[in-house]
Amino acid sequence: MNRVMGKRLVWAVLAGAAADLAGLGLIAAAAWLITRAAQQPPLAALSVAIVATRAFATSKGVFRYVERLTGHDVALRAQAGTREDLYQALIPPQRPRHGGADLLSRMVDDTEAVQDLLVRCLLPAAAAAIAGLAAVVIGLTILPVAALVLVAGLALAGVLLPAGTAAAARRWSARIAPARAALAARVADLVHGSADLAAYGADDAALGKALAADEALAALERRQARVHAAALAGGTLVQGLTVAAVVLLAQGAGAGSVGTAVLALTALVAFEPVLPLAAAGERMAGIMAALRRLREVRAATPAVTEPAAPAPRPEAPLTIEIDDLVVRHAPRPAPEGSASSTGSGSAPEGSASGTGSGSAAEGGGVPGEGVWDDAPDSTSSAGDGGAPGAASPTGGAQGEGLPAPGGRPAVDGVRPAVDDDRPAVDGGRPALDGVSLRLTPGKRVAVVGPSGAGKSTLLAALMRLVEPESGRITVNGVDLRELDGDDVRALMTGLTQDPYIFRATLRDNLRLAGPEADDDTLRRAVRDARLEDWVERTGWDTELGEDGRTVSGGQLQRLALARALLYDPPVLLLDEPAEALDEETADRLMSDLLDVTRDRTTLLVTHRLKGLEMVDEVVVLEEGRVVQRGHHDELVAVPGYYRDLWESEVLTRR
């Protein structure tokens, strides 16, 4: 939290305390005024009380207004800051721990927790503490014993009760959160899977599941309401009994009618800011859990370690050399599994160390979908496991990044979204197993192979989205690990798998790849991607829907291609550019693409072989290894995967 916000927060607390004190003063002064007047003193004796009563009455509202306004302002700033921090934490490539609907409910809820924490917990608690203290001081001046009772009552209602509700709420929210997530997932299924559900007549069953999830949640919420009810009752009880006890003590001690009345009414009013703290305590459990989750996301180790001092970005023309590259996908870490890694992750140097393997190891131990892999050497501690991996990129000298005998640098952050070949295909084997490739300026290389062969992983490694286990990639002789990840992606990028269409206009969706592009440039990119008809029909300023739902698969693909062409990186990576296109369009697109990319350094991942005779080299990947390489003509001439594929393609075409 920055200084401005800290200052505002102090002001808010002060204003809140002032408002509570004014309330207290108002009732104390009025009580004194009335009971003293009943003793019929001279009028002058009452004048101070009269003035005080009026002054407190006027100032209370003003202070309250200031408090609430300042408090909410701070809270909203804090929330915005939390969102931004969260987003920043998600920027470095990493495996998404949770997706879609879950992410929505969690992120929106969690970032609001910060607001709740400030406005509904910290602020009122601080103000109530100050007001309570003032009431006790008033009590002390009249009757110390009564003040002690008041302290006890206030502590009960303001400390013990909130602590109790917080503990109870923590227990309950641990049970409610999964129920809530389950409901959100069921609803998301109903919404996103409506076509599949309807077509298979499974919508009733899915609706039933959603309603069952709702019922489970409702049952838990009903039981949780009892905690709230008990707190409400407890507060009422403590307040009433404290006042009664104070009166009893005061009368027994002969404090006089003035003293007794002031004591009683002060005690009564002192509880007013204290009683809501029980409800605040209830919120605390959820708030703390949300903050912990946010911290976890922030502490998550990126998939790749960024160098401390990145080498300067190499200038085009670029020569890319891939040398004996091995990439192994780490087991999927469980969402809550990385809690203990936060400690080392927060240190600036530590974040570059082995926290990844720590969380991965923990993730591997969690039952369920966490276990994709055998979590190799997961017994090694966080520090040990990661050290060798961290040393090479930062030190640079050890550029080979050899796996240490004790533990491999586990990679937390394989991105399923861009990944065609999930480790799911095969538990133990690396996704890429010793791939070498040389891409000189202007050279075009096509990578073909069955799904799961490692084609997309190769692109991910080039875009510095996954950390290689061994081997290296160099750009003009500079190891990729010595470069800033963003610089790498500025040099090598293009059409990635599963491109995303944002909820924005068509123009903005394109321009994210070229913010400075003028209309002519945009039009050219659209033309090269064979999208111009659709763009003309749709209109440049049409909002595209969520998930690109109003955009068909082929259009989405071409839109993504247009982006890649617009971005125009020195090394163009194309992951299945013709996927989901109809045959005719795909053929035209590919032949155009091969025209457009002539003399451009291009790495093309494809499963369509047509036109590949135009590229300089074809690399056939199977199970992470290069099984064939050469020019199209050479590959067709010899038996093997390529020729099989070629023949099946030729024969299925007409």
Partner: protein
């Protein structure tokens, strides 16, 4: 509805408890004033403690029943919302932003808590308690009662005035919040794409801008909303001062006794408190009310558009006979908000057991045609007949029970792979599931960590596109009783070999069924008896590939089937399965040699010209003319013999 009755009962108890507790405060004040003034002995404090105890009990009751009320109402609303979502169906669901719907059903409805548990009971209290206080005040002291009576109405008046001005703003703020949530999710989901184009960091500033805009909008609302509470607070505390000071002066004069004075001092705030509490709770619940409005908007929206399809719900059961005949009569489909019709005046008959491939450019209306058959969209004009019965009058569920459907981007549910496969056949045995998976060539499932019990990540996050597609295909296979097969580009995302395998499986699946397949890839088209080309919503060619016994009336169709039958199952060799009907295992290498002859190229050109002719021919593509042209195209293709298969490839080879 039983649920709604019990909700009403719970609400009544909640409000009654709140009102009773409020009235007991009067009793409490009476007792306290008596004790403090010395009219009652200290023993009365025991009675006071008893009253406090009862109040606590009532508070507990109120809390528990408020919980019941809230969960009851939310469940009821959620039920209706989700049921409506299902009724809306995939066709209209796309119009809503799915993320917003998911939020609405979860967090959005939770916003109602404040309204139900806070605002509603506070209305009851505000209606009863101030009145009771006034009555008691009039009985005790006329002058004070008049002051309270005069100032009391100021609170609701000011409250209403300010409330009216803030209502619109609050509603706008809720929409902004919802948009903010949507925007944040959108950006996070698209992060891989942003990262690929180096825009991820820039987007952080956009997030900040959106949050800042949201904050200033919120603060504008709050400045006004809190102004109302300022006025109310001032009213209440100034009135207290207005009451207390004259009372003190009158006590001084001896015209009032202390008990009454203390009673007035204790009671006067209780007159204002319920009204202020109501105001506060009103503001706190506004967000929830806005959420409820959004929920009702979805319900109303549905109700509005439902009128058309709801009226003829005679729901004639579609008899589960064999493969049906499907006839489209002058069908036009228009989507709301779009000028061009998605389908325009389409008339065609799909005969039982016919296999129809729908081809054409993306956006031509192929998917719409499938959705029409699925009952997701209704024809704007014309009708769809299944065995002579209008689909609109048919019971959708019984019709869909006969379908097996694979969507373009199938949704995988967060459940086990097995459950995903048996979506349309919940009673399918594990063996049947296994067989379905095998038929869809989803053999990778066995290699997953938990085999068929592996839980699929959200939206199939941990599976590749091809794997997802094959699971969806297995769904279709797991419905052996389906008589109509509807496939939307089932092989669009598969590589050549898996494609061949899936084609083989599809051929098997299509056997003895009516099949409508949106196809881009020739291997799939080869399966068809008939190819229908759609362009801009119209049928531009309709070509029979094989004599199906229901030969086209013009009879000019040449046995173009040869292309298909001559196609050897090369691709299938490795899989031990032949693709399509191609059983003739022709040789391997020699066929390739002279495929790229000038002859073949010319043939191809001819075919294309013929095809273009077909497209430009009269829009009623079923005229003999167009069909002949199409048939000629086929014949031309056929003339190329086996070489024709390679002719396409020749286009690329120069």
């Amino acid at each position: 509805m039983r649920a709604e009755r019990s909700v009403r009962r719970h609400l009544t108890v909640t409000m009654a408890a709140a009102v009773l507790a409020g009235l007991l405060v009067l009793v409490q004040a009476e007792l306290l004033a008596g004790v403090l003034s010395g009219r009652f002995t200290a023993a009365v404090l025991a009675v006071l403690a008893g009253v406090v105890g009862v109040r606590a009990l009532l508070a507990w009751t109120q809390g528990v029943f408020a919980g019941h009320t809230a969960t009851g109402v939310k469940s009821a609303l959620r039920h209706r919302l989700l049921a409506r979502l299902r009724e809306l169906g995939p066709g209209r669901l796309t119009a809503h932003r799915s993320g917003e719907l998911v939020t609405l059903a979860g967090r959005g409805l939770d916003g109602l808590d404040a309204y139900l548990t806070g605002y509603l009971p506070s209305i009851a209290v505000a209606a009863v308690v101030p009145l009771a206080v006034l009555v008691r005040l009039f009985a005790a002291d006329l002058a004070s009662a008049v002051i309270v009576l005069v100032t009391l109405p100021l609170i609701p008046i000011f409250g209403a005035l300010v409330g009216m001005t803030t209502k619109v703003v609050t509603e706008r703020q809720y929409r902004a919040l919802s948009r903010l949530g949507g925007h944040f999710l959108d950006v996070v989901r698209g992060l891989p794409t942003l990262r690929a184009f180096g825009r991820a960091r820039y987007q952080a500033t956009v997030i900040r801008q959106v949050a800042d805009a949201h904050r200033s909008a919120t603060m504008r609302t709050l400045r006004v909303a809190f102004l109302s509470s300022l006025v109310l607070e001032l009213c209440a505390s100034l009135s207290l001062a207005l009451v207390a000071v004259p009372i003190g002066l009158r006590l001084l004069g001896g015209s009032l006794d202390l008990t009454t004075a203390l009673l007035v001092l204790l009671l006067a705030p209780e007159a204002y408190l319920p009204l202020r509490a109501m105001g506060t709770r009103f503001h706190a619940s506004m967000e929830g009310v806005a959420a409820a409005d959004a929920a009702f908007a979805v319900l109303d929206d549905a109700a509005g558009s439902e009128v058309r399809s709801a009226e003829p719900r005679a729901a004639a059961e579609v008899r589960p006979s064999g493969a049906p005949e499907i006839r489209l009569e002058n069908v036009t489909v228009r989507y709301p908000g779009r000028d061009a019709a998605a389908l325009e005046n389409v008339t065609l008959t799909i005969h039982p057991r016919e296999r129809v491939a729908l081809v054409g450019e993306s956006g031509g209306g192929k998917s719409t045609l499938l959705h029409l058959l699925l009952g997701f969209v209704q024809p704007s004009e014309g009708r769809v007949l299944v065995d002579g019965m209008d689909l609109r009058e048919a019971d959708v569920a019984s019709w869909r029970a006969r379908l097996a459907f694979v969507a373009q981007r199938p949704h995988l549910f967060t459940t086990s792979v097995a459950d995903n496969i048996r979506l349309g056949a919940p009673s399918a045995s594990p063996e049947q599931v296994r067989r379905a998976a095998a038929a869809a060539h989803a053999d990778f499932v066995e290699a997953l960590p938990h085999g068929f019990d592996t839980v699929v990540g959200e939206r199939g996050a941990n599976l590749s596109a091809g794997q997802r597609q094959r699971i969806a295909l297995a769904r279709a296979f797991c419905r052996p009783d389906a008589s109509v097969l509807l496939l939307d580009e089932p092989t669009a995302r598969l590589d050549g070999r898996s494609e061949a395998a899936v084609v083989a499986g599809t051929a098997e699946l299509a056997h003895d069924r009516t099949a409508v397949i949106v196809a881009h890839r020739p291997a799939m088209i080869d399966l068809a008896d008939r190819v229908i080309r759609l362009h801009e919503g119209r049928v531009v060619s309709d070509t029979a590939l094989t004599p199906t016994g229901i030969a086209p009336s013009d009879g000019t169709t040449t046995p173009a089937i040869t292309t298909g039958t001559a196609t050897p199952g090369v691709a299938g060799d490795r899989e031990d399965e032949a693709p399509g009907r191609g059983q003739g295992a022709a040789g391997q290498g020699d066929r390739m040699e002279d495929a790229r002859t000038a002859d073949a190229r010319t043939t191809d050109a001819d075919a294309r010209t013929a095809d273009t002719d077909a497209r430009t021919a009269d829009t009623d593509a079923r005229t003999a003319d167009a069909r002949t042209a199409g048939a000629d195209a086929r014949t031309a293709d056929d003339r190329g013999g086996e070489a024709a298969a390679a002719s396409r490839e020749s286009g690329g080879k120069r």
